[in-house]
């Protein structure tokens, strides 16, 4: 057995050393994480901002001409930017509330007592656990106008007379992908809200029942305030994720037909990665980052408050 000897206090020098160590140690322990974050998050962000001020096309790597804010001026005259912005707004304001509502309903159901509840709780996580590409390919086949199960089902029960090319029709393509993303993302809300529900003391409901509160009033006055904190954080976090999410769109339609499913992250990605126009692509990414900054600041403030 080994023992660790604690050095005796030998005066003001060792006291100062211990105090200094207490100050330095947290920083030393944090520094690897901070360094990694700086290298893989902040450095690329600064690089993106710098590239956005240049005319930089990847297949002409020697030409890196300073253009100032020209890329940003071009963005505001770019028809595809405005189309993408409109789609991005629709994408966020439909997907996040839909996921939240579906997640809330699921969490309330899973909070009830019923046989096989642990299994149901485990199964509900499947859409969230599946890779986005698998989900996108699966739903693309579901929507397929020739062999898709959705058309087949709707034709059989007589809702449709002819198949609808859900992903090839500009009126339905974006909403079809929104439904896919809603299905993928609602388990996140369900799990978060379920955790919130379990933290509400049962005695509140018992007291409310004795006072004659209806289930709806119990939900409104006990459940909702009880989960409001977790719900708000989840909505903020999910808004940032959904806003940035483009993998499902990329696999399902690639932005088409035409620009019908272009969102700003996808447009930025296609400009940079496919057209190799890193200058303009970076300017698009920076513009979108600035737009999202409000939500990010709100989330950071909330996180800081929670830590305090």
């Amino acid at each position: 057995m080994t023992t660790t000897s604690v050095p005796e206090q030998e005066g003001p020098t060792s006291g100062r050393r211990a105090a200094l160590w207490r100050q330095v140690m947290p920083l030393a322990l944090l520094s690897p994480a901070v360094l990694v974050t700086l290298a893989i998050v902040f450095f690329p962000m600064i690089q993106t901002a710098w590239m956005s001020l240049h005319n930089y096309v990847l297949f002409r790597p020697k030409n890196f001409d300073w253009v100032g804010l020209q890329n940003y001026f071009n963005i505001f005259q770019d028809e595809v930017f405005w189309i993408s912005l409109r789609h991005t707004v629709l994408w966020i304001v439909i997907t996040v509330p839909a996921q939240a509502l579906l997640g809330l309903a699921t969490a309330l159901l899973l909070n009830q007592s019923f046989p096989w509840r642990p299994l149901a709780r485990a199964l509900i996580i499947i859409p969230w656990a599946l890779p986005s590409v698998v989900i996108a390919l699966m739903w693309a086949w579901i929507y397929d106008s020739n062999y898709g199960i959705l058309n087949d089902l709707l034709l059989r029960i007589g809702i449709l007379e002819t198949s609808i090319p859900w992903l090839a029709n500009p009126d339905t393509a974006l909403y079809a992908i929104i439904l896919t993303l809603t299905w993928q993302g609602f388990p996140f809300f369900a799990v978060m809200i379920l955790a919130g529900l379990q933290s509400i003391p049962q005695s509140y409901y018992e007291a409310a029942s004795l006072d004659g509160a209806t289930p709806w009033r119990q939900f409104w006055h006990i459940t909702l305030p009880g989960i409001s904190g977790v719900l708000f954080t989840a909505i903020l976090l999910r808004t940032i994720w959904v806003a940035n999410s483009m993998d499902v769109i990329f696999v399902m339609t690639g932005g088409g037909p035409g620009y019908s499913t272009y969102t700003l992250p996808l447009y930025s990605f296609l400009e940079a990665r496919t057209n190799l126009n890193f200058g303009y692509g970076s300017a698009l990414a920076m513009t979108f980052t600035l737009m999202l900054l409000g939500i990010v600041i709100l989330y950071l403030k909330r996180s800081a408050k929670a830590v305090q």
Partner: protein, 404 residues
């Protein structure tokens, strides 16, 4: 001391051999075929060339060039890769390719390569960077049984194609719903090959300012009319890619489509003699089809260029080239393999040969990949859906090529 010097001298003498033994060629390629014989080719090459290892990586086609360009800029490019001609201008601008002229001149296999293939794959600066490894030309697939049932002949002109497509678009089981469409149009990526056959063969039309001429606009309008007015494409056409057009043709959802010999074995397996082929129709005074090239090249960053050259020349040598093309389903580039070729039913090889006189490559321009990847699909889809006119679509494409 003497012993130490002797040992060092021995090591120094062995050093080149050791370096050679460590030589690894990183090779990128793209095969759709799951029965990938690359392992057999690599094993054969490594047995013939001890000291050279091949690290062959099958990169998915959809992101092949995105990955390649970024790997070049990122300093992590392969030593050799399968490449198409449309990528050549960009790769030259990036100074990413090694000239092969001297090596080809000294290569025994050069005389066995089919005539004209070196000319077709020569760069505008007069150098040869590409070594051909396979080729195809696109032609029209049609359902012979459906044509026979309706008493139709294979279409030789755009008008005949339209007429046949209208007749072939029908409800075959009497449930009041269309279950066969005349033509399977590829509105997604690479669909410019279909559009090109209806547009670029017209007199005086090419991928330049002439696209905005009456003849050029008439070509695009012809495609739009087939979709919007005649309704002979499946409704999913604006988004359809390779899987969709071949899948629909196999299952009888479409009666015609355009593709190359690469899909013929798959189609024959399902449809047998019901599938036939002919050249793309003559439209507006001429014919145009895509020459589907594929070559290999040594990249300028290759650590051992000689080893990389040995590997790519091995792939374009008789017998090896036949094995390579058995996997890709395309046609060999060597005369000896062509003479003995039994990889496809003769009717599809004949349709390919008949298409060669009017088969074209896309322009050697840095903007061609942008045309293929984003400008054509986005504008064609918008035009099909009535969001822009044929004139606007052609103007967008012409602008891309004239702004260069």
């Amino acid at each position: 001391m003497k012993r130490t010097i002797s040992a060092l001298a021995l090591l120094a003498g062995l050093a080149p051999g050791l370096a050679s033994a460590d030589s690894t060629v990183k090779f990128w390629y793209h095969f759709d075929n799951p029965e990938n014989p690359m392992g057999d080719l690599v094993a054969k090459f490594e047995a013939e060339n001890p000291g050279i290892k091949i690290d062959a990586m099958n990169v998915p086609w959809n992101s092949y060039y995105d990955n390649l360009y970024t790997s070049i800029v990122g300093g992590n490019a392969p030593d050799a890769a399968m490449l198409k001609m449309f990528a050549l201008p960009r790769l030259l601008e990036m100074e990413a390719l090694e000239p092969l002229d001297d090596r080809i001149a000294a290569w025994q296999g050069k005389d066995d390569i089919l005539p004209n293939l070196f000319d077709l794959t020569r760069a505008e600066d007069g150098n040869q960077y590409f070594l051909p490894v396979q080729y195809v030309a696109l032609y029209l697939y049609y359902r012979a049984d459906m044509f026979q049932e309706l008493g139709l002949n294979p279409p030789q002109t755009c008008d005949e194609l339209r007429d046949a497509a209208i007749k072939l678009t029908r409800d075959t089981n009497g449930d009041g719903k269309i279950d066969t469409y005349g033509f399977g149009f590829r509105g997604g990526k690479s669909g410019h090959e279909h559009w090109g056959s209806f547009t670029l063969g017209r007199t005086g039309v090419a991928l330049d300012a002439s696209l905005t001429s009456d003849a050029g606009v008439a070509g695009t309008q012809f495609v739009i009319d087939l979709f919007q007015t005649d309704k002979v494409f499946p409704p999913s056409a604006p988004n359809d890619g390779f899987q969709e057009i071949i899948g629909a043709f196999k299952t009888g959802v479409t009666a015609m489509t355009i593709h190359h010999v690469g899909s013929s074995n798959d189609l024959v397996e399902v449809l047998g003699d019901k599938v036939a082929a002919t050249t793309v129709p003559e439209c507006g005074g001429g014919r145009w089809t895509t020459f589907g090239d594929e070559s290999t090249a040594v990249l300028s960053n290759a650590s051992d260029k000689e080893a990389a050259w040995k590997w790519i020349s091995f792939l374009s040598t008789a017998e090896n080239n036949a094995l390579f093309n058995t996997a890709t389903g395309q046609l060999p580039v060597t005369q000896s393999d062509t003479a003995a070729w039994q990889g496809h039913e003769p009717r599809f090889v004949e349709a390919t040969q008949a298409s060669l006189p009017f088969a074209h490559l896309l322009p050697a321009s840095s903007n061609t990949p942008e045309f293929v990847n984003t400008v054509w699909p986005a504008n064609m889809q918008r035009a099909l859906l009535g969001q822009i006119t044929a004139q606007q679509m052609n103007e967008a494409i012409a602008k891309l090529f004239t702004d260069d």
